[in-house]
């Protein structure tokens, strides 16, 4: 009797150790891959980072990434502004008015679908409805496809954050005679501001690295384009992509691509950390 329990105990213990070792190995493998990527990124990219990367346009020989970085900034910012207006409004409706209505449920589901829709499909869609009628590739087309991607992110985070505002706050304001729109704008938004900002920042980070939706919309350019949203606009992801494919016979351009990838990733990681900082402020 005594021996069987000990052997059973031993078996359980051994199994446990085995599984835990497997978990540890899995963690090791997972982080190994991810560190390998970060390591490659830094080791290949850091060498060609210099000031001129930010100030010079893309060229076949020499040159930098200035126009591409600028273009990505402009397109991402414009898309974020539009996306914020649409997303916050729609998210507010879902949280404050939608409730358990059928319409709200449908919109919520559709939003979830859009949230994970393949980004290349978004590019195809914008090509069909913007690029073809407009007659040329343009920054606007790029902006709109990025907007389609950021809107669901903002809607989701806005709704989630508004729902965290306790009802008692709304009721207290209502008891003081406040109107509903006033309650939403002054009470709910001020409570959910940090959370919504987090969502917007995360969305901003996500669209700044999107390449697939830009393939058929903004295309790319080797020229400086500051605010001409009707024309092609250079952008960092497409420049990286082109330098790794059609330009990859020029070693300098490949190292520029890695430098661009490093800058892009670093910017996205910083944005993510900033988003985290915002959300921590809330709690």
């Amino acid at each position: 009797m005594n021996t069987t329990t000990t052997s059973l105990y031993r078996r359980r213990k051994r199994l446990n150790q085995l599984v835990m070792a497997a978990c540890l190995v899995a963690t090791g493998i997972g982080f190994l891959f991810l560190f390998a990527i970060l390591f490659t990124l830094v080791s290949k990219g850091v060498g060609s980072i210099s000031l001129s990367i930010f100030t010079e346009r893309t060229r076949m020989t020499g040159g930098g990434l200035g126009n591409a970085i600028w273009g990505t900034l402009v397109m991402t910012c414009v898309a974020t502004v539009i996306g914020t207006i649409v997303g916050v409004a729609a998210g507010t409706w879902l949280a404050e008015y939608g409730g358990k209505r059928k319409m709200a449920k449908v919109i919520r589901f559709i939003n979830d679908v859009l949230l994970s829709a393949p980004s290349i499909i978004v590019g195809l869609f914008i090509y069909a409805v913007v690029v073809v009628p407009m007659g040329n590739f343009s920054a606007w087309a790029g902006v709109l496809s990025l907007t389609v991607i950021i809107v669901p992110v903002v809607i989701r985070s806005t709704e989630d954050m508004m729902q965290l505002i306790p009802n008692s706050l709304r009721e207290a304001a209502a008891a003081l005679g406040a109107h509903r729109w006033w309650i939403i704008v002054r009470v709910c938004y001020s409570g959910a501001r940090a959370g919504i900002m987090t969502g917007i920042l995360l969305g901003f980070a996500r669209i700044s690295g999107e390449t697939a939706p830009l393939l058929f919309t903004s295309l790319n350019s080797n020229q400086w384009n500051f605010f001409q949203l009707n024309n092609e606009m250079a952008n960092l992801p497409m420049t990286i992509y082109q330098n790794m494919t059609i330009n990859s016979f020029i070693p300098d351009l490949v190292s520029l691509a890695w430098a661009g990838a490093l800058i892009l990733t670093a910017a996205i990681l910083i944005l993510n950390i900033a988003a985290r900082y915002f959300s921590r402020q809330r709690s």
């Binding site: 076949m60 073809v132 040329n136 350019s221 500051f226 024309n231 494919t245 016979f249």
Partner: protein, 346 residues
């Protein structure tokens, strides 16, 4: 404080923006085959005149597609359009530069300089019928070479391209089997092998894969120091790919006899002709939508014909002979603005 900084920044960048917009940009899109030389010309032209050229190498098919849809001022393609296709879309075309497509290979431990192949064997390799380097068909063509036992990995272009067109056009001319099963085109389905992106991707895939064979524009092969296949041409001579053999093939071209300048230069006669030679074409609308933009583009091409030969040769392209350039310049009178005047004058 912050507001002031912002205001300064914004007004500053506006000034820069206005300055930058003053020098208008020419936009073009298309073939990747001439992309290096067009881009070199563009950089030099911008340094000299201030007019920028944004050439997006999205593939020959893309070039035709974009110029037909009028999303760009000019399109570029390695596969010419026929006279009928041109007329249908109100387009005209002319050759801008010529070059050769070469077959390159890489076998670990193979110390020979090159291998000889004929068109039919090359087609069989790409059809997957010949899958080892020590195959009898290859051995017969290379009696003095000891061929290694290595699997052949054909490498091809993943996206639609004029390089594909020239290569498949040649293989279809020399192998009926290939013409029936794969056929010629900018984008074909290959029965065997690996697809890589762009000429550069194919070149690096060949360089890093044991037993690989692939086709690239000559400049890319030279850049990657790949071993080159010597091909048997239509006269039955085995020729080495080089500037001379491309020129020999190009010398057959009679541009003034070709309606719409439709001319494919593969499998040309001549003792020294390289069999896979081709010209890269520029496509523009005869009825200029934006006369000013068309004029700027033509000025650039005029400049390139006059000043670009050296740059082209340093990148292993064959520049167009002067008489052809003059002929092309004359044909530009067909490009007219809405008022019926030619947009460009000599």
């Amino acid at each position: 404080m912050l507001k002031q900084v912002l205001a300064t920044l914004i007004s500053g960048s506006l000034v820069v923006a206005v300055g930058a917009q003053a020098q208008d940009t020419i936009t073009g899109a298309g073939a990747t085959f001439p992309y290096p030389v067009y881009s070199q010309w563009a950089d030099a032209y911008q340094d000299e005149t201030g007019t920028g050229l944004n050439y997006q190498a999205i593939g020959s098919g893309g070039g035709i597609q974009q110029i037909t849809a009028k999303t760009v001022t000019f399109g570029a393609s390695d596969a010419p359009m026929t006279k009928e296709e041109l007329d249908e879309n109100g387009l005209m075309q002319w050759p801008m530069v010529m070059g050769g497509v070469v077959a390159a290979f890489h076998i670990d431990g193979f110390d020979g300089e090159s291998l000889n192949l004929d068109g039919e064997t090359l087609a069989d390799i790409y059809l997957g019928n010949i899958s080892n380097w020590n195959d009898e068909a290859i051995a017969e063509l290379n009696p003095d070479v000891e061929l290694p036992d290595a699997r052949i990995t054909p490498v091809y272009r993943a996206e639609g391209s004029g390089t594909n067109f020239l290569f498949t056009n040649y293989l279809s001319k020399v192998s009926q089997d290939f013409a029936d099963t794969v056929g010629e085109g900018k984008s074909v389905a290959w029965p065997a092998g690996v697809g890589a992106k762009a000429n550069a991707g194919v070149a690096s895939q060949i360089g890093s894969t044991n037993g690989a064979i692939g086709y690239v524009e000559y400049a890319y092969a030279a850049q990657n120091e790949l071993s080159l296949i010597h091909l048997e041409n239509s006269d039955g001579n085995v020729v080495e790919p080089s500037m001379e053999s491309f020129m020999a093939a190009a010398s057959n071209a009679e541009w003034d006899d070709a309606p719409g300048m439709y001319l494919v230069l593969t499998d040309q006669p001549g003792a020294d002709s390289w069999p896979i030679t081709g010209a890269s074409f520029i496509l523009m609308h005869k009825e200029a939508q934006d006369a000013e933009a068309s004029r700027r583009a033509l000025e650039f091409f005029d400049w390139a014909y006059a000043n670009g030969n050296e740059m082209a040769q340093s990148l292993d392209y064959v520049p167009m002979p002067d008489n052809v350039a003059d002929m092309v310049r004359e044909s530009w009178s067909e490009i007219q603005g809405s008022n019926g005047d030619a947009v460009w004058q000599q």
